[in-house]
Structures are given as structure tokens and as C-alpha cells.
Symmetry: C2
Subunit: 417 residues, 2 copies
């Protein structure tokens, strides 16, 4: 079988499964999710053996450090995957929720109801737990899923998919509902992205390279979870201790994630007081600062920031610092260099807070809080499929609703037009 | 200037305008819409002169009949465009509407609010009134718009766009908010579809050819308003007079539109009684029937239906008729041949009604009503951007909300994570 035939066959099975999934009861889905949790724990010995082979191959290829430890599974990680299954089982089922409805003057009762999307493809890299995360969220929202993971975790991912798929089908989920692409042939991704007859949505979770490659070929709708160049703007009216705490938290609490701070903008009127204060606190946390000329004049230990720094998503303990003359300049800077992810103002001015939240065009805008809160769990969505920085369908943290569509149900008693 | 430079320049102007449009007041937008209405009526002499040149050229090229009359403007059509502007002014502004919100345990106040998409491109064919329709809906939702119409109406469309754009900018709308592509170079469309740095959404309103051409090149998100192969299924329990009335209405009240009936499915248990009844009523309305073998045995005047007929969107007074053995067979037929637009069951059975509305995966599903109601105005949306048959972002009739995105606004008092 060619890769093309193989992917098409998986897509056919997923599409067939999606018909039965559409009306699968919440109880059945939840029972399957709990059975998946049990199966993962029960079969963890097998998982570790398989994972050890992937890890050994990765080491041979020279993989080290964070990337290697992301690949390596242990009891704690398997327990976390199982816990994820049980948690998703406790979430409200999005399918069937009535979003709006009314009786029209002609007597027609119209309601708009959430329904599954159908078939969702998820392409991801490295971390094997995404195999389970993506499958359980897709299942809870009533979708069939086709998974395609990174080649270094191929054997581990394939086993995880097999374990949860078997547990699911033994508990009333139709066969084909959880498909996994067991080949590292790159052609499989582009084929998924062009199978618009079978696939309703494709979600790439990976680097910019993957996104660009898919964007140029995809005919299937894509939701990108792009990077975050996030800003904190410290207004002239800010509580400076609050501002320093927010800046430090947004930068250091988890520098490797997309909602962490990358550029600090400081109003010139309080720069002389604020820059030394925040510099010291950030320095204590080993943050390297790169400043514009005015910032460096207030802290000579700063490196020089270049044009590239304003657009940089460092994802480490580096922070760009710029002094601005006004709120307007801050807003223009964010529009020019930001990625419309998460941006915050620290201020005591009502007018400036209002302007910032309405004029800054980002998925999440903050007043007097850390950008690190942009997250499905922190926002109360109960789960997170990813954080969308695109404007269509779903923007910001994506919960289960992002994996659904809607339909109109119209009930009448013979109405004609 | 090359076409590429020209389109890029329009997109730059639109993107710049979109910043000011984001926070433009409802009052300003409504005043501009009313001024556009006044300007269209005041300058209708100029519109007719210009339109006459497009019409003359089209006649020279051999355009006749419905296509020519769609192109030709008169006082009534200009009055309808003006009325459209005034009606959109009366609609509630979608921008700023709070969709959901809560206070989180840590005290953060989170709200999800509707915001404009930014820049919307609309590519359409033939009817000049779409120039005005698309521009006013985009404006009301706070978007800049770039319009690209059919070549046969180029001069008319360009003038309409100029008139409304001038009226808008004289009333506080930023310059560049309404852009029109004044070239018939086909490269302009594919460039719009790939300017993802500037354009947030592209809506093609035209034939399947346009859609396929865009789909293969687009990197900008696209919403397709695809065709409708709509079904009415007459269940064995149906009130047969109601069923006949619905079938006739769905077929003949406006056969050229996407929500009109194309295939009638009849349960075999009532076929003997129902087929002669509906055949006569449809015959009275000059509908040509194409039946499967069993249908033809009940009405010998029917033509033979082939496999192609089940998938045909006739858009005229032709109707395919098929006898099915069961609700299941009807649901399978609709899934196989339909376009997931609008499908109806006529029944007195609660169980069959429930199964039909939940198992048929269409944008609108009906019980005991005509498919012709799938329409933004009939559904109470107040306006219609089109009818989406795709599942992402907006499905079914698209109102102003479909031209918006959302953002999260988070207000705190120093929260860190």
C-alpha cells in the first residue's frame, strides 16, 4: 500500500466513524474516556518498553536535553495522561448545547445547536502525551480524529494510539474513530491537508516550519496556534511595584511558552524610577535585558536591542525593553511587532485602560495582570486544544467548543415561503 | 503600476483603515450608511449612464436573458440598494457585544467580546448590487473591505464603490475602508487570496469554478457559500397534503436559489398515494420530474433519473424523485448526494423527526417546513452575508456576526500566575 492509499484508507474509516460519533451518547463517550485511562495505566509496562526503543534511537541520533526528556515517558507522565482522560470525562458535553433560538413570526421554532465538526486531523511534534490529549478532546466533542506525530516518537505514539483506540472501541466508540498514521513519510501530512472531502479541520501543533508547509498546500481549513510575542506596557500612572511583579511573573514563571513576556514597554515619565527597579528584580531571576538607547542609559548592564529584538519570541530568560513617549507609541509598537496573542497594560488610569483594551487587537488584552493567564484552564474552559492567534472560528484559548460546528434545527407545522 | 503593486496598495490602505474602523462609533457608521443611501439616489443619473456602457458592451459580447437583466440597473434597483444601506444602519452593531464572561476564583474579570475581523475581501460575479451589499455589511461590522466584481459590470461596480466610499469618508469613515479593484486582470483574485499579511477573510460569491480556483491557492482563510442539493423526505407517517405543499413550495417558489428543492425522497409505503398527488401539483407548475424505476411506475410521464440526477443542483424547474424503503435509506441518500445545505422531513412521527434532525448533518434541518426558509432574514439575523456550507466559523445563513471575531478582555488588580 502506498502512503497515499494508507492515508486515504484511514480517512475513509474516520469519516465512517464520524457518522456514528455524531449521535454517540455522552455516557458512552465518558465511559470510553475512563476506560482509556484504565488501559493506559494497566499497560504502562508495555508503554515503557516501547518508549525505551524510541529513546534509544533518539540518543543514537544525538538528541539530548529538554527534547530527549520530553520524549521519555515515566509513571508520572502516564498517570498524568490517564488523569487527563478522566478530567475530560467530567467536562460538560458541548454537543447538543443550544446556543440560541427563537420562535419566528410565522411560527417556525428555530434553534442553533452545537454539533461535532466531523473528522479532525492533528499534526504534532515530539511530546507523546499529545497523542492522548488530542484524541480525548476530539472524542468528547464527537469527532473522529487522525493523528500524526513526530518521527522520533513514532513507536510510542503508535502504541498509545492503539491502547486508547482499543479501549474506546471496546466501550461503544465506533472503529476508526481514533486513527494514527504509522509512517514517517512526510507526504502523509500534505495529503491530510488536501483531503477536504474527508477532513473538516486540521490543527498543526508544531514549529513555524510545519505551519508554513501546511499553509501553502492546505485546502482543508486549518487552525494555527502561532507564536506569542507578548508585551507588558507600564503606563506613567502605574503602581510600579505591581508593574514590576507582573513583568517578572510574565517573563520568568514559564519562559518557554507562548503567553510569556517578550518585550517590556515603559512610559518615559516613570522610566527613571521603574527601569532600575525592574532591572534588579529581573536580574535576580537571571533575565538578560536588551534595551533601546534610553533604557540602556538607565541601566548600563543592558545589552543593545536591535530591530530584530522587537519581533523576537525568545522563549527563554531574555527580555527586550523599550522606553516609549506615550500610550499611542506603545499601541503602535504592539501592532507593528506583536503577534496578536496576549498584551497587558499596567495603569491606574481608567481612560488608558479603556483605550488599551479596545485599541490593541490581540486575542487577549489585560489590565493589571500577567499575560501568563492566557490558557484554557485559567480562562475556565476546562480543557485546551491550543491557543489560536487567528481570527476565524476560534481566537485565544480553544476549549471543546472550538472542536464543534453548529447546525440550525427548524421545526414547523407545514410552513411554506 | 503592476496589478500586484496595485492590489498591494489597496490592501495597505485597507489595513490602515481597519485600525481606525476597529473603534469607530456605531453612530458614525450608521450616519455613513445613511449618507451612502442618499448619495446612491442623488447620483443615479450618473449610475445609469455608466451602467448603459457596461450593458452595451455585454450585448456586443452576446450576453442575453437573465444574465443581461441582472447587469442592467434601474430606479427600482438603485432604490433597493439605498434601502439596504438604511436597513443595515438600523441593525444592532455586533462590535462590542459581550458573548460570555465571568469572575475567576483569583479575581480576574474575563469577558469575551465581539471585535471586527479587520480586512475582508469579497469576490463576486455579475450583479452590481453586491458591491453595495458587501461593503455595507463589512462596514457595519467594523471591517475594511476590498471588493472585486465581475468584468462585465466593471465600470458600474467601480462607480458604485466610488459613490459609497466618498459618502462614507465624508462622514467620518477612514479613507481606504472601501476598496475596489478596478482591473479585470485575473491575477488580482489570486493575489488577494494569498495576502495573509493584510487580509483576514476572503469570501468568494460565485460559481464553483471561482471557488476551486481560490481553494487551491488561498492562504487567507476562505468562507465558501457553496451550492445546495436540498432534499425533502416524505415519511410514511406524513400528512400528504402538507408534504405536497412543502415539496411544491420548496421547488417552485424560487428555483434558482441554493435553498430550493432538488430531490424528493418518498417512503415506499405512501408512494402509491403520494406520487400521483405531488406529480399533478408539480406538473401544474411546469416542473419536469425525473424518477427512479419505482417512481416512474407510479407516474409514467416521469423521465428516467440517472446517478447524475441525484447529485444535480438543477436551479430550475426540474426535480429528481426517488422512492426509499426507510428513513435510514433516506438519511444515507442525503449523506451521499447532498451538499449539507438544507434538508427537510415531513412526518407525524416524533421518533423519526428526532432521528432526522440529529442524524442529517446539514447546515439547516427541517421538520414539516420548506427548505426555502434557510435565509438570514427568515432566520431573524437581519442581514445576510451568504449561506455557508462549511463547518468552520459560521455555518448556514451568515449575519453580521459572521464578519466579526472575538477577543478576551481581562481586568485584574495585580494578579500573577
Amino acid at each position: 500500500m502506498t502512503t497515499q492509499e494508507y492515508v486515504f484508507d484511514l480517512a475513509e474509516r474516520a469519516k465512517k466513524a464520524s457518522v456514528a460519533l455524531r449521535t454517540l451518547s455522552t455516557a458512552t463517550k465518558n465511559a470510553a474516556l475512563n476506560a482509556m485511562a484504565d488501559a493506559l495505566v494497566a499497560r504502562q509496562g508495555e508503554i515503557f518498553e516501547t518508549n525505551a526503543r524510541d529513546v534509544a534511537r533518539a540518543e543514537e541520533r544525538g538528541l539530548t536535553g529538554a527534547l530527549l526528556s520530553r520524549l521519555k515517558l515515566n509513571e508520572k507522565k502516564v498517570a498524568a495522561m490517564a488523569e487527563g482522560c478522566r478530567q475530560v470525562a467530567t467536562l460538560p458535553d458541548p454537543v447538543g448545547r443550544v446556543i440560541s433560538g427563537e420562535r419566528r413570526p410565522n411560527g417556525l421554532q428555530i434553534e442553533q445547536v452545537r454539533v461535532p465538526l466531523g473528522v479532525v486531523a492533528v499534526i504534532f511534534e515530539s511530546r507523546p502525551n499529545v497523542t492522548v490529549d488530542a484524541a480525548i478532546l476530539a472524542l468528547k466533542a464527537g469527532n473522529a480524529v487522525i493523528l500524526r506525530g513526530g518521527s522520533e516518537a513514532l513507536e510510542t505514539n503508535a502504541l498509545l494510539a492503539r491502547i486508547i483506540s482499543e479501549a474506546a472501541t471496546q466501550n461503544g466508540v465506533p472503529a476508526g474513530a481514533i486513527g494514527f498514521i504509522e509512517t514517517s513519510d512526510r507526504a502523509a501530512s500534505s495529503q491530510l491537508a488536501t483531503l477536504s472531502s474527508h477532513i473538516d479541520l486540521i490543527i498543526p501543533r508544531g514549529g513555524e516550519g510545519l505551519k508554513k508547509a501546511l499553509m501553502s498546500v492546505a485546502t482543508v481549513p486549518v487552525i494555527f496556534a502561532a507564536g506569542g510575542v507578548c508585551h507588558v506596557f507600564v503606563d506613567q500612572s502605574a503602581d510600579l511595584n505591581m508593574a514590576a511583579n507582573i513583568a517578572v511573573n510574565a517573563k520568568v514563571s514559564n519562559p518557554g511558552v507562548c503567553n510569556s513576556l517578550e518585550t517590556l514597554l515603559v512610559h518615559r515619565q516613570i522610566a527613571e524610577q521603574f527601569v532600575p527597579l525592574v532591572s534588579q528584580k529581573l536580574g535576580d531571576q537571571h533575565v538578560v535585558l536588551k534595551g533601546d538607547e534610553r533604557a540602556r542609559s538607565l541601566d548600563s548592564s543592558m545589552q543593545e536591542a536591535t530591530e530584530e529584538d522587537w519581533a523576537a519570541e525568545y522563549l527563554d530568560l531574555t527580555l527586550a525593553v523599550r522606553i516609549v513617549d506615550s500610550l499611542d507609541e506603545a499601541i503602535v509598537h504592539i501592532a507593528k511587532y506583536g503577534t496578536q496573542h496576549s498584551d497587558a497594560i499596567v495603569t491606574t488610569s481608567y481612560a488608558n485602560a479603556q483605550r488599551f483594551v479596545y485599541e490593541v487587537d490581540s486575542a487577549a488584552v489585560y489590565v493589571n495582570a500577567s499575560t501568563r493567564f492566557t490558557d484554557g484552564f485559567e480562562f475556565g474552559l476546562g480543557a485546551e486544544v491550543g491557543i489560536s492567534t487567528q481570527k476565524l472560528h476560534s481566537r485565544g484559548p480553544m476549549g471543546l467548543d472550538a472542536l464543534t460546528s453548529t447546525k440550525y434545527i427548524v421545526r414547523g407545522d407545514g410552513q411554506i415561503r
